[in-house]
């Protein structure tokens, strides 16, 4: 009974849902503030993300008649669950909640699930903007999938392990993988941008073209859940990268500082670049990210 309570607290409070949402929300705020200040704007206050959440959850939710109702409601929940599961797999704070052989593969899959959830949400809404947004999301997901997996597998091949905690331990002993495999790291970071939905790969929700993209028809609680998932993403994506390639952290503070570094990187890219069309981003990933990931993968195979 106490075990169950312990697991629930770990899953829902620390380092699970609540902690991740708060940290992710603050990272998201940091990105918005940083972006605003570098554009000569003032930017939102630190509680903006949480205020948005409260507002969305307290509002009436309209689901259009044409939409597939259960899919519309299910999509954000899938998104949140997959992200919380990644947090459970990662050894944040005092060890991981569920570590098993091959959890790296599971985590990689789970990290791409929110993208699919957004795609499903757009299709389920049956709005032309939503459908086009989903199509773009799917196309971008297809383009970053391979370099993303390959650059993660480079690390797995080198350590001969598919368990995240052993990869982290190896890095603590022998130095971080960023220095050993810089090309794979760059490829991985490039794939992080579409996962977090940032420029130049934010075509799925290009507001000047297709309004809200897949989330055009969403309102109230379902939209709030997607916003929650968005905040989670701002924590999960950097923290996963830090564990995989930057050696994790001796304590939570070090971990979060490393994550902040990644958030700054993503923000700067977002600020200085304009948006790619989907076909251009597809080409970009095949032309740049895939070769970079491949080179380091081959290196890890030949010189282990």
């Amino acid at each position: 009974m106490i075990d169950l309570l312990d697991i629930l607290i770990k899953l829902l409070v620390y380092p699970g849902l609540l902690f991740s949402v708060i940290v992710g929300g603050l990272f998201y705020w940091f990105y918005r503030k940083f972006r605003a200040r570098s554009q000569g704007r003032i930017g939102p206050p630190w509680y903006q993300y949480f205020a948005d959440l409260i507002k969305l959850f307290s509002k009436e939710s309209n689901i259009t008649q044409k939409s597939i109702r259960y899919l519309s409601a299910l999509a954000p929940i899938v998104s949140i669950c997959s992200l919380v599961l990644i947090v459970a797999i990662l050894p944040i704070g005092s060890g991981s909640l569920m570590s098993f052989k091959g959890d790296l593969i599971i985590a990689l899959y789970l990290l791409t699930l929110p993208g699919f959830a957004i795609g499903i949400a757009g299709l389920a809404s049956r709005s032309p903007y939503g459908i086009i947004g989903s199509r773009r999301e799917a196309r971008i997901a297809a383009s970053y999938g391979i370099p993303f997996a390959l650059s993660a597998l480079t690390v797995a091949f080198y350590t001969q392990s598919l368990t995240i905690s052993s990869i982290v331990e190896y890095q603590i002993k022998n130095g971080i993988f960023f220095l050993r495999y810089p090309l794979a790291t760059i490829a991985f970071l490039l794939c992080l941008l579409p996962i977090m939905g940032r420029r130049p790969f934010d075509a799925p929700d290009a507001d000047t073209e297709i309004i809200g993209g897949p989330l055009t028809e969403y309102s109230g609680t379902p939209l709030g859940l997607f916003e929650l998932a968005n905040g989670l993403k701002w924590f999960v994506a950097p923290v996963f990268t830090v564990f995989l390639l930057f050696g994790g952290g001796a304590n939570v503070i070090e971990l979060l500082l490393k994550c902040l570094g990644l958030v700054i990187f993503v923000s700067i890219i977002d600020i200085i670049y304009t948006r790619y069309r989907t076909d251009q981003s597809f080409k970009f990933f095949l032309k740049w990210a895939l070769p970079l990931a491949l080179i380091d993968l081959v290196r890890s195979l030949i010189w282990p």
Partner: protein
């Protein structure tokens, strides 16, 4: 199977009220229809019910971003009817304000274009720097948007030596802004890949569709009213008309960019060579019975005023042909075969101004009344 994407009348990409129905296959645009008329205000009719002097203010309110353009054109046309000419100093001041407004309009356009491409940083930067242009306008005219500088037979405010120094200082800043804008356009490879070979309007099509202004010059049609039929003080200043041959969005961008440089040059020359003398006339004659045409090069192209006078203090007929009326028709030609992601920037590339368009298309809207019933559209959308 194609589907219909409705764009507008309310859409984040279109800051103005118009309705597009784009047929898309996947992401490719295969057909479309556009509908204007949401902003009809009956200005041409109203103009015949007001005196010539009140019509200046009405003309200014045809369009917010090109109000001096409209008032200059109206005043010069009425001056033709009166057989008078504005004093030289007034003409120079008109030129200065005219070009300042072109700077304001083009910088605003660059900002919007960057926003459509998702480059919000450049958009914020340009709109911040646009404030310098607004300050010039505020100091010269006393207002920021509807400038109210023109009057029949001259202008209403004079330039003082301190003001000239102020404008010179601001022009130095603006030159740097223009330089930086050029850097953004020329050096950002992603930006270039989004606008090159997109929305091509060939020279033949441009001539067939009678497009004007930067849209025409971007397609290699060498027309500019400022050079071809000089008004105000344009015959006394030196400037180049920039023409690009490619006809894509990039060439329209480059044409506007070169016009920024030229505008700064024109203002500099006008300020330097401004003659002394009166700025307006003490007495104005009545307009003679007859009709007159006037045209100016607005920021979007040639603007045409036709005024018919019956000898009273009110015009009998005012006809306004704004540049967007002709430019809008070229939109579908540019969009066919392009990707949906490129539609906003193609739309923005002609810098459409719909509030002035809708006034002129009223007759079409009346004739095709049945077509615009919303119910038929609604049923079409349900079945598609």
């Amino acid at each position: 199977m194609s589907e219909v994407i409705p764009i507008g009348p309310f859409h984040p990409a279109l800051k103005e009220a118009s309705h597009f129905e784009l047929e898309v296959k996947g992401e490719k645009v295969v057909g479309g229809d556009m509908k204007f008329g949401y902003m009809h205000r009956g200005i041409e009719d109203l103009a015949t019910k007001k005196s010539y002097h009140s019509d200046i203010f009405l003309a200014e309110r045809v369009c917010g971003i090109c109000n001096v353009v409209h008032s200059t054109c109206f005043c010069e046309t009425v001056e033709t009817l009166m057989s008078i000419e504005a004093p030289d100093r007034a003409k120079y001041i008109r030129t200065i304000v005219f070009e300042t407004e072109r700077l304001a309009s083009h910088i605003l356009w660059f900002g919007v274009g960057m926003h459509e491409l998702g480059y919000d940083t450049a958009y914020m930067y340009l709109w911040r720097e646009r404030e310098h242009v607004m300050e010039i306008m505020e100091r010269i005219c006393g207002k920021r948007v509807n400038l109210g500088i023109n009057t029949l037979g001259g202008v209403r405010r004079d330039l003082t030596p301190e003001l000239i120094d102020f404008v010179k200082g601001k022009l130095n800043i603006l030159e740097k802004v223009v330089e930086k804008t050029g850097k953004i356009i020329n050096e950002d490879s992603i930006l270039k890949s989004r606008v090159k070979n997109v929305g091509v309007l060939s020279k033949e099509d441009a001539e067939k569709l009678c497009v004007v202004g930067p849209t025409a010059r971007g397609s290699g049609v060498d027309i500019d009213v400022r050079r071809d039929d000089p008004y105000a003080a344009y015959s006394k200043v030196d400037f180049k008309v920039s023409v690009e041959e490619a006809g894509d969005v990039l060439s329209r961008v480059l044409v506007r960019f070169n016009e920024l440089t030229e505008s700064v040059g024109i203002i500099r020359q006008a300020i330097k060579n401004i003659p002394e003398g009166p700025i307006s006339m003490d007495e104005l004659p009545f307009p003679k019975t007859g009709e007159a045409f006037g045209r100016v090069e607005a920021h979007r192209g040639e603007l045409l005023y036709y005024i018919k006078s019956n000898g009273t203090n009110r015009p009998e007929r005012v006809k306004i042909r704004t540049p967007s009326v002709v430019n809008n028709n070229s939109l579908l030609t540019m969009m066919l075969g392009e990707k949906l992601a490129d539609v906003p920037i193609i739309f923005a590339s002609i810098d459409p101004c719909l509030s002035c368009t809708d006034r002129v298309t009223i007759i079409d809207v009346k004739n095709n009344d049945k077509k615009t019933i919303p119910l038929s559209q609604l049923s079409r959308r349900m079945t598609s």
